[in-house]
């Protein structure tokens, strides 16, 4: 690399971007080395242990839940044929469309003492008013259940891929060595895909500890609720940052474990010769229980919350399309599309730069950029707010006004950092499918980089571009904490109005925006299920789509 490269636009741009991505995070972490206020001492002495206890409890509960549901259903679906399998195979992804906070809201509507489910039980068995069948869910148990049923698809997806790619011969050789079918499953089947399972589990845990909406609704104190109340209750920005830094350290640990497991998984995906997957047909009670096992998570994580939402919407004669809803939906949509276009364009430019310049440093930069998804929304909000204040001071000091702070810029920036990885994985695999011979031919005819990109690559990337936009849109629409904090005054999005209604216990009003969020969330699942089919052995180039999931 020569000094000339420093002035090359294909290199400068990604570097600036990198700085914008990294500065907020560095700011947060550096707060740990600053002063500690009285608030910190108070939190340290009285509430921190509670945050830690709750967080650990939820991590353990959610791990157990997602592993049992995710690995179990993936294994059933790949090795057996049972009633409804073909539908369940993709239906198991549906809970991806329901963000944890929406499941939490519907669960309280269903299972609170006078919620739908308890009322129903009382009505059916004509029991007294005091009778409560379903226990309270507004606690760490409830939170673990909510996370398990909304996030298990991460584990399901990776284990299913791993089971599909697992050589059938490995299991068969295991049997000839004297192990029964079930023993082979847990002595070889599970351990040999352990890295894949861990990678999926780490994604679950990153989401779990980033969550704000669900734990807040259940009044479970964790780091995120602590950060929020320190910032907006005590107005202590600095202490909030210090709490955020602690949380970030945990996130980074999970992230490193995830990357490490993924690398390890590449080695352990055994042989390159595959026997066809011959699923065994189950009969009788085995068939029944297999169906039930796979149906339950779809029911609890998708069907049930939607029934409750529909019930609210219909029973309270909800005006679905009132003016407020339309404004909110438009705000959300507009924001999501802007973010999606910017993300997809950035991903195209960066991937093109890497391909065109064949530059190692760019490659490393880009892999750093893709870890933005791991940063909890709340922490992003902290970092981005500080960045904006800094920029305002720098650029607009003479107007003595905040220009960037409280504008859409902060929100879009946070969303870009959060969803760049999604856009990138799709665009990256899109580029991989374009034969590099095309580039060589272009070079020999002395085509410029710009012309190569716009006239050859872009037309070939149309599908990837749209796919990446859809993924980003659905991510942005679901996002709650960063939206809540960084939004311009009175600028409501679907997620925010869901949150506000739920906070006021006006569940029936929360139904319309929730249904809209779930509806948009279904789009990427449709894409994902199509890709999953294509990514069977023989279509192996496609699996980079999963890498970021």
């Amino acid at each position: 690399m020569s000094y000339k490269n420093f002035f090359d636009p294909w290199i400068i741009l990604p570097t600036i971007l990198f700085a914008i991505f990294v500065v907020p995070v560095v700011w947060i972490i550096s707060s740990l080395f600053g002063e500690y206020s009285d608030n910190w001492t108070h939190i340290y002495n009285y509430t921190l242990s509670n945050y830690i206890y709750n967080t650990i409890f939820i991590i353990i509960g959610t791990s157990i839940g997602t592993l049992i549901i995710g690995v179990g259903s993936a294994w059933l679906v790949t090795t057996y044929n049972f009633t409804g399998k073909n539908i369940l195979e993709w239906a198991l992804l549906l809970p991806f469309a329901v963000p944890p906070y929406i499941l939490a809201y519907t669960f309280t509507g269903l299972f609170d003492s006078y919620g739908t489910a308890n009322n129903l039980i009382r009505d059916i068995f004509s029991l007294p008013h005091e009778f409560i069948f379903f226990p309270k869910l507004r606690n760490v148990y409830g939170a673990s259940i909510v996370f398990s049923f909304t996030l298990y698809p991460y584990v399901y997806l990776v284990s299913r891929m791993a089971f599909i790619n697992q050589s059938r011969s490995i299991m068969e050789v295991g049997r000839t060595l004297g192990f029964s079918k079930f023993k082979v499953f847990y002595k070889i089947g599970i351990p040999s895909i352990r890295p894949a399972i861990i990678a999926g589990l780490m994604l679950v845990l990153m989401e779990t500890i980033s969550d704000f909406g669900a734990v807040e609704h259940f009044s479970v104190n964790t780091f995120t609720t602590g950060i929020f109340s320190t910032w907006f209750g005590l107005y202590d920005f600095h202490t909030a940052k210090q709490l955020a830094a602690l949380l970030l350290i945990v996130v980074i640990t999970f992230l490193v474990l995830e990357k490490y497991s993924r690398r390890k998984n590449r080695y352990s995906s055994g042989s390159n010769v595959f026997g066809p997957i011959v699923a065994e047909k189950l009969r009788g009670s085995k068939n029944f229980f297999a169906s039930l096992f796979c149906m339950l998570p779809v029911f609890v994580g998708f069907v049930l919350p939607n029934i409750q939402l529909a019930y609210w919407a219909l029973n309270y004669k909800l005006e679905f399309f009132n003016e407020k809803f339309i404004t909110t939906a438009w705000n959300t949509f507009y924001l999501a599309i802007i973010t999606a276009i910017i993300c997809a364009l950035l991903a195209v430019i960066i991937n093109f730069s890497i391909r065109y310049k064949k530059n190692k440093i760019l490659n490393i930069l880009s892999s750093f950029l893709t870890v933005g998804y791991a940063v909890p929304g709340l922490i992003l909000a902290l970092g981005v707010s500080q960045l904006l204040v800094f920029m305002d001071n720098l650029l607009f000091r003479e107007y003595l006004d905040f220009v960037l702070t409280g504008s859409l810029v902060g929100l879009v920036l946070a969303f870009i950092i959060k969803s760049f990885a999604l856009a990138n994985s799709t665009i990256e695999s899109g580029f991989l499918r374009i034969n590099t011979r095309l580039d060589d031919v272009a070079r020999t005819t002395n085509t410029s980089g710009w012309k190569l990109l716009t006239q050859i690559h872009l037309p070939l990337l149309t599908t990837s571009f749209l796919t990446s936009m859809i993924l980003v849109v659905s991510e942005v629409i679901k996002e709650l904490p960063a939206s809540l904090i960084l939004r311009p005054f009175n600028y409501d999005t679907l997620a925010i109005s869901t949150y506000i209604y739920a906070a006021e216990e006006r569940m029936f009003d929360a139904a319309a925006p929730s249904i809209a969020i779930v509806g948009v969330g279904l789009l990427p699942i449709i894409i994902l299920s199509r890709l999953t089919v294509k990514s069977r052995p023989g279509y192996r180039n496609n699996d980079s789509h999963y890498q970021s999931y």
Partner: protein
Amino acid sequence: MTENTLEIKNLRHSFNTDIEVLKNINLNVSRGEIVSILGPSGCGKTTLLRIIAGLEKQTGGTVNINETIVSDSKSFVPTEKRGIGLVVQERALFPHLTIIKNVAFGLKGKKDEKYKIALDLLKLFKVDGYANNYPHEISSGEQQRVAIARAMAPNPKILLMDEPFGALDHALKSELRDETKKIFKDNGTTAIIVSHDFDDAISMSDHVLIIDDGLVAQEGSAKDLIPITRKNSFKIA
């Protein structure tokens, strides 16, 4: 003739269709004998091995191992109880276990004893230097040596090998073939080797079986078969 380790009588098989993959197979393998099975692609060689291993249940006929029925219309002994060893072309080493643990996997008993047996086998196949490596760290020829060692470790009644040398290059192949034969003969191993390759069959086995169209087309000792097959210019798929 000595006692038969494997006896197959009137074996038929079809996969949920009208097409019979195996029509009427009869085969006897006596103790310590090495038998090769040849035949064009898709003629049912793998299917035959899978039926012997109990990974597939045949439509008709009987399979006996050591003079006891392991599979007929009435009874079925599951794979793990048949005492067989399996080696496949793709090697199928357990990716999450070291080489020595792979070989020791099927052994019962104390850890030290298991590892000693495993290490001795690795020495025999000249891969003891990799005992603590993982499968992806060694070459495919070495992987195949480990796979054969692993299958032999529990001292199976019969070793089933499905194109064990198929993925190796020519020089490596003949070397491993000769070594394996010597080890089998020293050890008294009974083995069935499925192959595409005449050289494999001729150099390794006492007895050769050629399957075509679901039937045994030709059968005989390796020496007898050479002129016949050459003359018929049997096509190797």
